[in-house]
Symmetry: C2
Subunit: 305 residues, 2 copies
């Protein structure tokens, strides 16, 4: 019962008001796998890189028990590159460049043993690729899917088709509004759940996240941070912590899904404390538990004096 | 140990995507007093109206045990009027007109017995008037102050002076950013607490509210609402529920202040369900308790399976 992750693997060049980094490790599959690796092991990764992909990144992922048999290395190609710049308020980012490179003709083929995976995380890549991967999984028990505004704008029909096979859909508030053309998030959530996913998570950045199931709405707080070094990968880390915890505990009750949302938020909060994947590379069990308990403290109150 | 409330009393003409209402009861002092009246009684109101102020509004306030001795009625003057229009997403509102009328030369003079009040809520009016009221209170124990972007823009120095005498300051997220010129809310909160108020509440509308005390940050969820009929008065109702509960329980521990934030959120959620003050006019104890418990359910999770 392995956890399978598909998504992008990238070399990111990121500029924030605090610092600048060139060709650092990035990509949705990378962040998801690292975040999930603290809960479940091994994580089976499906993705593609070029022959220029640095060896030390491969070693670091392997040290986190990420299974890279499903990572294609295309000889003579370059790895997918993304460049972005965050502004002072960090909610706005400009994409400076996108070089698809090896990603352009990516045709995900799962190693045979990956096909037995029961937990599947479809990280943010185009919905046709997400579907191609899902189609190869023989008997998935829980399918988590993340996306972004780009695919809602350019591949909405493919995304809608995919959503019929998805159990948990994760997107942010502006994407939820965009997908449904409904400004009220609670109404938008209802509409999205009617598209297929029985469980919906709307991420709201500095305002936390909302979980919608059949009978429950759960509001998760955001971790209060004075400095966010690099928001890149926060959403992916959320998805990784979320599915990693569920895969570890193998319980899909509403109560456990709430905890998974908090573990997702926990991993996202570690992610943004450092540049690139650095915030996810060297965490201890105790650090994760401590932060989880801080989330508890942050949002709990007693009913009576 | 009475609860004293000062603020505006208005006739509001409001247009939303759902309906339109003309010259309905409004004003910060009105909403605060009504919301607080479910917890403490009597509420001593300080404000001003013209001789055109409808009798049935006076009767309704008196039925809620709001003490109107401090409400000046200026003969021959008209009551303060405000007109606003909300757009489809309800986060944007245009002020269509503001007629100060009786409010223009308002000189708040407290009846002698009001001066003994120990809990004071300075509703949203200009900071010089707020200070004038506070100066007349002999020995205030808890001073709660609300404000708005207008006063931050036009009377910042007066507001800063007032803040030195305030225990609890309530404002919304964009106002907090405006006041401090700091985009990060956690940093902005630190800066505002250095201006005087030991307790700070940042309201975030559909994203809930944040409470900052010396050692605690508390994140209160927003009540999930599919339809918000009229957002007018939500912030005032929050302040009224907050101080009303504290005045009722007379306990200023961090744990009780958290509960007060939830009671504030509870009253705000009732407020926006109907036009004008209608949502606050006919609530039962049970309705309030039920909604409080819904807030608890919305944000609580267990630490372990």
């Amino acid at each position: 019962m392995a956890l399978l992750v598909v998504g992008s693997i990238a070399l990111d060049s990121v500029e924030t008001p605090f610092d600048k980094i060139d060709e650092a490790l990035g990509g949705s599959a990378t962040y998801i796998s690292l975040a999930a690796s603290y809960f479940s092991s091994p994580v089976e990764l499906v993705g593609v890189v070029g022959s220029d992909f640095p060896k030390n990144y491969i070693e670091m992922l392997e040290e986190h028990n990420v299974d890279l048999e499903g990572m294609q290395i295309i000889e003579g190609e370059k790895t997918f590159r993304w460049g972005g710049k965050y502004h002072y308020d960090l909610n706005v980012r400009d994409t400076l460049f996108t070089e698809l490179n090896a990603f352009q003709n990516f045709n995900p083929v799962l190693p045979d043993r990956y096909k037995k995976a029961r937990y599947v995380c479809l990280g943010n890549i185009d919905p046709i690729l997400q579907m191609k991967v899902l189609d190869q999984v023989e008997n998935p028990q829980l399918v988590v899917c993340d996306t972004m505004n780009l695919w809602i704008n350019t591949m909405k029909q493919d995304l809608l088709k995919l959503l019929k096979s998805v159990n948990v859909f994760i997107l942010n508030d502006s994407e939820a509004r965009m997908l449904t053309e409904e400004p009220n998030l609670i109404k938008a959530a209802k509409l999205i759940r009617q598209m297929g996913p029985e469980i919906l998570i709307i991420k709201k950045g500095e305002h936390g996240a909302l979980l919608f199931t059949q009978d429950t709405i759960f509001s998760a707080p955001a971790y209060p941070m004075e400095i966010i070094f690099d928001p890149t990968g926060a959403g992916d880390s959320f998805a990784g912590g979320f599915i990693g915890y569920l895969h570890q505990t193998r319980e899909l009750s509403p109560e456990n899904i709430k905890r998974a949302v908090i573990y997702g938020s926990t991993m996202a909060s570690f992610c943004v404390e450092k540049f690139s994947t650095k915030g996810l590379e060297d965490l201890s069990y105790l650090q994760i538990q401590d932060r989880f308990r801080e989330f508890k403290k942050l949002s709990s109150f007693d009913e009576t004096i």
